[in-house]
Symmetry: C2
Subunit: 248 residues, 2 copies
Amino acid sequence: MVDPRLSVINARLNRISRIIAVSSGKGGVGKSVVATTLAFALARCGCKVGLFDLDFTGPSTHIILGAHQVQPKEEKGLIPPTVDGLEYMSLIYFVGDNPTPFRGEDTSNALIELLTITLWDKLDFLVIDMPPGIGDAFLDLVRLIHRIEFLIVTTPSMLAFETVKKQAELLCEQKMQIIGLIENMKADKSESVELGTRRLGLMYLGAIPFDPQVEEAIGKPQKLMQTSAAEALRKIAETAILKGKNQR
Amino acid sequence: MVDPRLSVINARLNRISRIIAVSSGKGGVGKSVVATTLAFALARCGCKVGLFDLDFTGPSTHIILGAHQVQPKEEKGLIPPTVDGLEYMSLIYFVGDNPTPFRGEDTSNALIELLTITLWDKLDFLVIDMPPGIGDAFLDLVRLIHRIEFLIVTTPSMLAFETVKKQAELLCEQKMQIIGLIENMKADKSESVELGTRRLGLMYLGAIPFDPQVEEAIGKPQKLMQTSAAEALRKIAETAILKGKNQR
């Protein structure tokens, strides 16, 4: 029997113009900070934006947002709270702060449930903080959500890029739409990630400088948006994402 | 029916004195570099050491070792090649350099297979580079390998530590043996990870300084062992791991 929730999911996402999945083949590259900052950057360009944390290995955008006091409202589904102007929903509302050893099937089920019951408003963008890697949760999301556009995050480290490359190749094989690749926490002038990205046939969207102020701005969105990292992401949002929107 | 391979696994690991699982609730904290460097540090103290890369989200120790030309030898099982004095085995010999979207069950199966067919020599230590997080592969390893001792790696970032904390709590709940926690890539004097570790009732084993030379030493084990990171790990190996051995 087909799970009846599956047909509900894309109906739920119907009023969202674009769905951007911030992904990384490797954890710890700053994916969650990039997703959160990007959501704010798009909002500051006048768009209505949602942020959806589906990182099963450890949701963390609520820490970045400092959103400890908010909860979704129940009303024939879950209505995402508004946090600093973003519609916000996270897996953390399901799992709480406890350790959550999800097995493959539980992950699929929790994911389907969360996608089914969340009632997003009409949005220009939904930014998803994806699970890292290409495990169950990642594969399920790719299967469940249509019209997904991938934004891939790496760091300058070759260890990170080698792993990220595999994810990118997998997405290319599956003919998924990839906006491009962002090089996060850049501290030198090396061009190896940029060259490697072009070799994959993907757009290199730019580098986000390593900025120690980002760590201090965790939990303080206003401060986060004043970092040089936020400024770099704002430019990427304008040139690669909003411009992309007009061209569609 | 019980998988007959399951009883073989612990027989295979019988000739290994101690099994150390280098783990992290979060990816990208430098777990693979710590595992590799620790394996070398133990070897330089005169121990016979194996390094086993079971990071399903992206095996990378072969890149750190620069071990591109070696392959395990088949002989009623797989005999790990020797790389710079370490017995070495990696998932990469199974999956190759292709993207590997393992589903939960495939992961379990690949893991069981790899544990069953690898013929380790008599070893003082087997250092395992664990999959990050607490997903299927991690849970399977905890279930399949007895006598496992955990070494948990975090960075100073509160985002990393919050996720790592959950993994530590899960291991504590399951009464697993935890050697302690290592704070990797430390660049300032903040004590929050140390205090947080003690609050969990765990040993804080020390900090490994952030050292840009580590990135340059990827693929060059000799150079890696000359970094300040390796020096810090050597001390941790001596005080927390080898000393622990004498006390047992």
